[in-house]
């Protein structure tokens, strides 16, 4: 029907037709998929949720005299960064916390500050305290460095997230009789609440369930700037069971993404604290889906009531790797504010902001319409549903004494 190149020509001429992943649903309902696919060139998606496998690398520039952080240690606002590179490259993970954070010693720990917060402050333009220690060499004699750094002075500041934008996610409940504090939020005992974490019908990989357009090299909205899909994300698991509409009904595909942190905005990368669990970063991602044919339009028009996921017990099953679903619910049910499980009405809460996801899809739409954002051809596909690529548990082999 159309190619990405043709879409980009329309973007340059200001003639492109872009709708959000919500608007395509209405359009397909009203006009049918054939007409909708003819009319629409691009569908924009969005998601804004906590994504713990995120982080950023920096090149801080060489001090005088020189210091080699590689093999030494370095902290940004007391949060330790990874130094196993060359002299002045470091990587900050969003879940890192200061050595003196009390963690869960007084339970549940508050986890007020960590890597995610450092990234948000850095892009807000705040000065960040760097303290480093090194062993010293002939070519890098310095052993100690204490300085403020600012994002504008860094040579590179690159967001590089190894697993983001999960294609679907569990609904977390607690069957036990005590309150638990998880990465899915606080779960009250005996099915007191059900927490989920997905933008549902706006979420990127749910709208291209077989990764027919999203691949390595896809240009995306990332943290308020422009980024790219770098690879499939860790734990990518495309082979899970799918509904007849192609949508996986359990956590499936993931994306590794990369982009220039200097363009990003603190409202789209937000330092986040999970009570009793730890710190993370809430990441805003939007992916454009080129409507190359009717089939892709049909996938992009999947709606909340057709997207199902599994309810999982985090009281006992999840921590003990017991693979069990307590039931299947769809996102329309989750968004209604309550689901029914084992005859009990359970209030629901979302960790992923739907209103922000909508804002991201709108923002990306406006970029494309204005001609500020053209689509990229993916260079390689993500591992596909039938590829046999799977997410496996650890095979533990006890160490010999």
């Amino acid at each position: 029907m159309r190619t990405i190149r043709e879409i980009n020509e329309k973007i340059k001429k200001g003639q492109v037709v872009v709708v959000t992943a919500e608007e395509i649903i209405e359009l397909v309902e009203k006009k049918g998929v054939k007409k909708a696919a003819q009319e629409v060139d691009v569908v924009t998606t969005g998601t804004f949720g906590p994504m713990c496998s995120s982080g950023a690398y920096f090149n801080i520039g060489h001090s005088r005299p020189r210091i080699k952080l590689g093999g030494g240690s370095c902290k940004l606002n007391d949060v330790p960064v990874y130094c196993g590179f060359a002299a002045v490259d470091v990587y900050l993970g969003v879940s890192a916390i200061p050595d003196d954070d009390p963690r869960n010693k007084v339970f549940p720990g508050e986890f007020k500050y960590g890597g995610g917060h450092v990234i948000q402050e850095l892009i807000a333009g705040k000065d960040i305290r760097l303290e480093a220690a090194a062993y010293g060499t002939d070519c890098y004699p310095r052993k100690k460095l204490e300085t403020y750094i600012n994002i504008k002075d860094l040579n590179e500041a690159v967001l590089f997230n190894i697993r983001n934008a999960y294609q679907n996610y569990n609904v977390a409940v607690n069957l036990s009789d005590k309150i638990i504090y998880t990465y899915m939020g606080v779960l009250k005992p005996k099915l007191g609440n059900a927490n989920y974490c997905s933008a549902g019908q706006l979420s990127p990989l749910l709208k291209d369930p077989y990764y027919k357009t999203i691949g390595v090299g896809t240009r995306i909205f990332l943290g308020g700037g422009i980024g790219y899909v770098a690879w499939h994300g860790t734990q990518h698991n495309p082979g899970v069971k799918r509904r007849p509409n192609g949508v996986p009904s359990a956590p499936a595909g993931t994306l590794a993404v990369i982009g220039d942190l200097k363009q990003m905005k603190p409202e789209w990368l937000v330092g986040t604290s999970m009570l009793g669990y730890g710190v993370t970063l809430t990441v805003g991602i939007g992916v454009p889906i080129p409507i190359l044919n009717e089939e892709i339009a049909q996938y992009a028009a999947a709606k909340d009531k057709d997207i199902y996921t599994q309810v999982v017990d985090y009281g006992n099953d999840y921590p003990n790797m017991v693979a069990r679903s307590l039931g299947e619910v769809n996102y329309a049910q989750l968004k209604s504010g309550k689901i029914v499980l084992e005859g009990k009405e359970i209030p629901t809460g979302n960790l992923s902001s739907y209103s922000k996801a909508r804002q991201i899809a709108e923002e990306l739409k406006s970029w494309i319409k204005k001609g500020d954002f053209v689509l990229s051809e993916p260079y390689a596909p993500l591992p596909q549903a039938e590829s046999g690529y799977a997410f496996r548990p650890l095979k533990e082999r006890p160490l010999a004494l």
């Binding site: 804004f48 937000v270 999970m274 009570l275 809430t282 979302n350 209103s355």
Partner: protein, 135 residues
């Protein structure tokens, strides 16, 4: 019999007076001090949970006012920082009184501070620390 949580602001000239004693003695109220900052020569602040007969409670409020103590219901003191809130909604099922609700159209989280009982559960749970306690 009612139970209310109130915030008292004492002018510094009153810090040395036995106000709480009067609430017990003259108005037969039971009190539980939730928070207090009372230092000489400075404005004092106290958060109290008061229980007692309706009429006594109302009279005690008049008494406090006549002494120059400013009072306000505690619920006014949980404030949402609109810049920090991302409207995720993880607080919604945690709130015991339905003071936090997702708007079905905008999908934003509405905070009804008139329903809030200042239990502070949302304050601890909020991932971006958008729910703030102000005294």
């Amino acid at each position: 019999m009612i139970t209310k949580r109130i915030v008292l602001h004492f002018p510094h000239r009153m810090v040395d007076q036995p106000i709480i004693y009067k609430l017990v003695k003259d108005f037969d109220l039971r009190f539980n001090i939730l928070k207090a900052y009372v230092t000489p020569q400075e404005e004092g602040l106290m958060v109290l949970e008061l229980s007692g007969e309706d009429s006594n409670f109302n009279k005690s409020m008049e008494y406090l006012k006549s002494c120059g103590v400013k009072t306000q219901p505690l619920s006014e003191d949980i404030i949402r920082n609109e810049i920090k809130c991302t409207d995720c909604g993880v607080c919604v099922p945690i709130c015991p009184v339905g003071a936090l609700e997702v708007d079905p159209i905008t999908r934003k989280v509405n905070f009804y501070d008139n329903k809030c009982i200042a239990c502070e559960l949302c304050v601890k749970v909020c991932p971006t620390k958008a729910m703030e306690v102000h005294f």
